[in-house]
Structures are given as structure tokens and as C-alpha cells.
Symmetry: C2
Subunit: 248 residues, 2 copies
């Protein structure tokens, strides 16, 4: 995996991506895994210099007791385990880079730029930027109200379509999503983990994992609507084994 910052790409020559995931915490990492199982590659952007989000930044040594089938797991250990799990899918990391702009094109694809100058053209965006213990603050930047709450980590200063209409993504603090696709009000922009909200939402890492899994199927359908979907199990499917690098 390439964990170093990428060389800035010219806006004229953007990185062509299937999916860009904003946020390299546990849910962002598991989104890489679920997309990978479906044969979809992902780039992952984080404002922090390291992967792991809050787990790594705020409480790396603290034990977590409610990850299913891990009776006790250190927060950094959880991140390390997820990094091990995504290895077969070779995600491209772009760390230490805030998202500075997200624009939806008329053809439904997105242009995403970071403050470091990296530019992506992508078919879908997953916002996995946990609010965590951070409080949203008002930036006072005209046009960014819709993104308050994400602004601490991800200063998405502009999210507009090409005609200047602001993309309204969420309510007061969190991104409102449906519970089928975990898609925001903007088709092609998904949100998983602490940043999203829906009836019954609990900010649990294990919920983010489920959200990431269902979002992956929805993203596959968004990108490749003609493709027939069927659930394959990692226990038995030769295609899954091939993608995971497991000998059959």
C-alpha cells in the first residue's frame, strides 16, 4: 500500500478513481475492504498524517470491548487489524490532505480536490469522516454552511454542481442518509460511520462496518447499474478468494 502523500496531480490531469473515500478511520478502512470484495478500487483521503482516525489520534492505547468477536481490542490494534484486512485490495492513501473542494459534474461524476493539490475525478464519494468527540464549529465561509460539522476534519469549502447550485448534504450536524444505501441527498455521495444519521443511529464502530458493507453494494450499483448483483460469501466463493488472494 502506498501510504506516502501522492505527488500533486494537475487539475488538467486528475487521478481517475472509481471511488474516493474521505476519512481513513475504521469505517473508511472497512469501506475499502467491502468495495474490494466487489472488485472496486478506492482512493482514501485523510487530513491526518496517519490512518486510524480517532482511534489512532485520540485513544490508541484504550481497550475497546464491543467489537464483535474481539472481547478486548486496543484502538490502535483495531486499526492495525483493518489495515491487514485491506491489504489484498491495495488502496491508495492520500494522507495529511484536507478536502478543499467537491464538485458534481453534469454527467454525475465528481471532481474532488485536496488542499495539497491532489485532484480526483471519481464516480462516487464516501464520506467516512467521523465527528467523534469533535464539535462542529462555524467557519463563517459563505457557502460552507451545509458542511458544518464535517469542517473540523474535512474543510469541504465548496460542494456545488457546475451551475453553482449548492449541494445540500445534511441537516444541522450529521449527514442524513437512508438505511438501504447509506447515500446522502446527492446521488453518488455516501456517508458511513459517526458522521451520518438515520432513525435509530448509534455511533458505534460496528454500525459503521454494516453501513460500509451496504454502501459498497449501493456504490457498485451506482457505478455499474447494468451489473447484476448477487451476494457471494468469503467462506465459499472462488471469486472472493481470488480477490482476497486466498488459494482455493
Amino acid at each position: 500500500m502506498n501510504l506516502s502523500a501522492t505527488a500533486p496531480s494537475s487539475p488538467r490531469d486528475p487521478i481517475q478513481a472509481e471511488v474516493v473515500i474521505v476519512g481513513a478511520g475504521p469505517c473508511g478502512l472497512f469501506e475499502v475492504f467491502e468495495l474490494g470484495l466487489l472488485g472496486i478500487g478506492a482512493h482514501i483521503v485523510d487530513s491526518l498524517a496517519e490512518v486510524g482516525g480517532q482511534c489512532t489520534e485520540l485513544y490508541p492505547d484504550k481497550p475497546i470491548y464491543d467489537i464483535p468477536a474481539l472481547p478486548v481490542c486496543g484502538a490502535q490494534e483495531l486499526v492495525d487489524r483493518l489495515m491487514q484486512q485491506v491489504k489484498p485490495f491495495n488502496p491508495q492513501f492520500h494522507l495529511g490532505q484536507e478536502v478543499s473542494e467537491l464538485t458534481r459534474r453534469d454527467d454525475g461524476r465528481f471532481v474532488l480536490r485536496t488542499a495539497a493539490g491532489t485532484c480526483f475525478e471519481t464516480g462516487a464519494v464516501v464520506i467516512a469522516a467521523g465527528l467523534g468527540s469533535f464539535q462542529p464549529r462555524r467557519l463563517g465561509v459563505p457557502g460552507c454552511e451545509a458542511f458544518e460539522g464535517t469542517c473540523i476534519h474535512y474543510r469541504i469549502r465548496n460542494a456545488r454542481d457546475l451551475e453553482g447550485r449548492r449541494l445540500v448534504l445534511f441537516g444541522k450536524k450529521a449527514l442524513r442518509v437512508d438505511t438501504e444505501k447509506f447515500q446522502t441527498s446527492v446521488p453518488g455521495i455516501f456517508a458511513v460511520g459517526d458522521i451520518n444519521t438515520y432513525p435509530g443511529k448509534k455511533k458505534l464502530i460496528l454500525s459503521g462496518f454494516h453501513e460500509a458493507a451496504l454502501a459498497a453494494f449501493a456504490i457498485q450499483h451506482h457505478l455499474y447499474p447494468q451489473k447484476k448483483q448477487f451476494l457471494q460469501y468469503t467462506t465459499t466463493s472462488p471469486i472472493m478468494h481470488k480477490r482476497l488472494g486466498v488459494p482455493d
Copy 2:
């Protein structure tokens, strides 16, 4: 934990339960855990003589690759890990017993009986009986149509209120639930794991874990509607540590 079959209890002297979980597969076990974190005790009934459901019965040695943060985990190992995780909550197991009757009383509580003669009076029921690779079959028993699909593992022959009205729990094959509480059409009866359905449902173990977590909160509210709910984290909460038996 008491894994032996309980002595039959008289219908006149039923076991008083907060919650009865039907199905001791991974999702049923994790339901015990999530209820335990909320201070709620559970009895768990399974028609099989051992815990683990499909994992233990059908593919104990097969590796699973998509349990979050467990890059590879044998199916039996997954069950063993979950059994370790539920230990602090001392669940009462009633194995090798099919559910034979489920009746809703006028006061909203349930009477659940097993073919082995165990009788519970309970405030809530969680059906965690995975359909798995089993196909539903028609039993041809009048009154049980509503339960076809659950009938292979759990022959719930009668589910009626005291006036003989049949409790309609689901559609053709799976139990239809909402995605906030994972409750069936009968208040107080919840369903998690492979047996339930909702828009976007995928039969993934990790989805069952999320469903179990949200159902636990809904069950707490169902049993104790006056109680204020707030999410406490196992990483930091002294109450969670006390329940888990972790020294602060």
C-alpha cells in the same frame, strides 16, 4: 454459563425472563452481549444441542474473511470468540429445544414454550434463527403459515394472542423488520440476522451484529419506556466496565 438443558418448568411456574432469544448462532450470541451492556439479562433457546448455529453445524472449519478486524477467522473460532465475549453476562442457555408455542398476553408480555417443556414468561422475544442455507418448507399445520421459513429450526406452531388472533410476523420467507428497532409487526418481537429482511438487507454476519445492537436499545425502551437512554462507550464508561467485569 449454564449450557445444560434446563429442567422442565411448569406452565404454572414459568421462568421469568427479561428477554428470550431464539437462536444461539453468532447474531443471537451478540444480542446477549448488547443486551448485557445495557444491563438486561437474556435466556437463549436453540433447537440444536450446541451453540453456534450454522457456523458450528455446517462449516466449523471453514475460514471467514469478512468479519471486520478479523482478516481470517474459522467459523467455530468466531463462535468461541463470541462465547468468550458474552461470559460476563452469564446468559442462560436452553439447548436442544425447539420453540413450540409463542403467545402474546393481553398485558403485552409473552409466554414462550419449548417442546422440552420449558416455559418462559418474557417481556420481549428476539428471533435470531438464521435461515441460512435451509429452505423454508410448508408444514401443512393450520395456523403456522405465518411462521413458514422459521419452521425448519424453530417450529413455532402457534403464535396467537389470548383471543386466538394469529400474530402475523412476516411475509413470504423472512421476517420483515424496520431498520430502527429491528422489530417485527408484533411489538416486543424483534428479529436479527439471516431471518429478517428490510430494504438493502444482505445476509452478512456483520449486519446481524449491527441489527443486534440497535435491537438491544429498542428492547430496553420496550421493557423500560421511562428509562432515559444514552450511549455509553465501552472504552470509557465506568458502568460499562462494571458490567463487563473490567477493573477501572
